[in-house]
């Protein structure tokens, strides 16, 4: 448990350095949903987001190859996966950000929108787990 927290802190630090590189060198906010969404809806379709995605998918693939794939405990329930994917995709684009854009990059800048968004998605996530795990028992 204690080791989990230390690895969390270390991994978080690496994520922060990633965001700092993208900001200080490229002048862009490291938001996974913004980068991916710009490619999907055409509002940001160029080499920069593509290269970012290549690193984001490719380096973990390499790490998994070298050290073994980590346990992800992903659900096999297709209805759940599709509903969740649609909600995450549409919600993050409507709100203009997700955990990385609003959470990491927004809060660190003391952005009101980042803080409000983070309160609402963590609140909604907590209620969803409470409802679907403890009341309905489906996840």
């Amino acid at each position: 448990m204690q080791q989990d927290w230390l690895l969390g802190l270390l991994g978080g630090g690496i994520i922060g350095v990633a965001g700092a590189v993208f900001l200080l060198v490229n002048g862009r906010i490291m938001g996974a949903s913004g980068i991916m969404g710009g490619l999907v809806d055409g509002s940001g379709r160029n080499g920069e987001p593509l290269a970012f995605l290549a690193g984001l998918v490719g380096v973990p693939a390499l790490l998994a190859l070298l050290f073994g794939a980590p346990d992800t405990n992903i659900t096999g329930n297709w209805a759940l996966l599709i509903a969740a994917g649609l909600l995450v995709g549409m919600g993050t684009r409507i709100a203009n950000g997700c955990t990385s854009g609003h959470g990491v990059c927004g809060i660190s800048r003391l952005s009101l929108r980042g803080i409000v968004a983070t309160c609402f998605y963590i609140g909604a996530g907590g209620l969803t787990v409470a409802l679907f795990r403890h009341a309905l028992g489906v996840i």
């Binding site: 969404g37 996966l81 509903a83």
Partner: protein
């Protein structure tokens, strides 16, 4: 050059998600499970990430990005309907699956078919979002 540093940033982001355990949906849902076996790891990840980012934001003052252009200006300090509705939708999907966009992409190659189904649905949701957002942005 822009592409190279974008790839480095993406690679570091993916590495951090792997090291921190945030590709594990059980840990993420554990953080959201305040009435069950609560797992505080995500708070440490957030804290660890916010610190270097806060220093980076402080460093931007009076400077320009290394590769030219300008730093993103702060958004208007207004939280509209789209921000709230979108974040609630996102949070619900996050709670159901334990996946948000970053980790879902980072684990694309080892999450099997379920991971790809999630990414497919997420892409579809992103593609369908602009008209819904436009409707929410107009005052009620």
């Amino acid at each position: 050059m822009r592409g190279l540093f974008a790839a480095i940033a993406g690679g570091l982001f993916g590495t951090g998600l792997m090291v921190s355990g945030m590709v594990d949906t059980a840990k993420v849902r554990g953080w959201l499970d305040i009435f069950g076996a609560w797992d505080p790891t995500l708070a440490f990840v957030m804290g660890g990430a916010i610190l270097p980012m806060a220093l980076a934001w402080a460093y931007t003052r009076g400077r320009s990005p290394r590769l030219g252009g300008s730093f993103p200006v702060p958004s208007e300090p207004t939280a509209g309907r789209d921000l709230i509705v979108g974040s609630v939708m996102f949070g619900a999907g996050w709670g159901l699956s334990g996946l948000c966009p970053g980790p879902a992409l980072a684990s694309a190659t080892f999450n099997g078919l379920p991971g790809l189904v999630f990414l497919g649905a997420m892409t579809l949701g992103m593609w369908a979002a602009p008209p819904v957002k436009a409707r929410l942005a107009t005052p009620a």
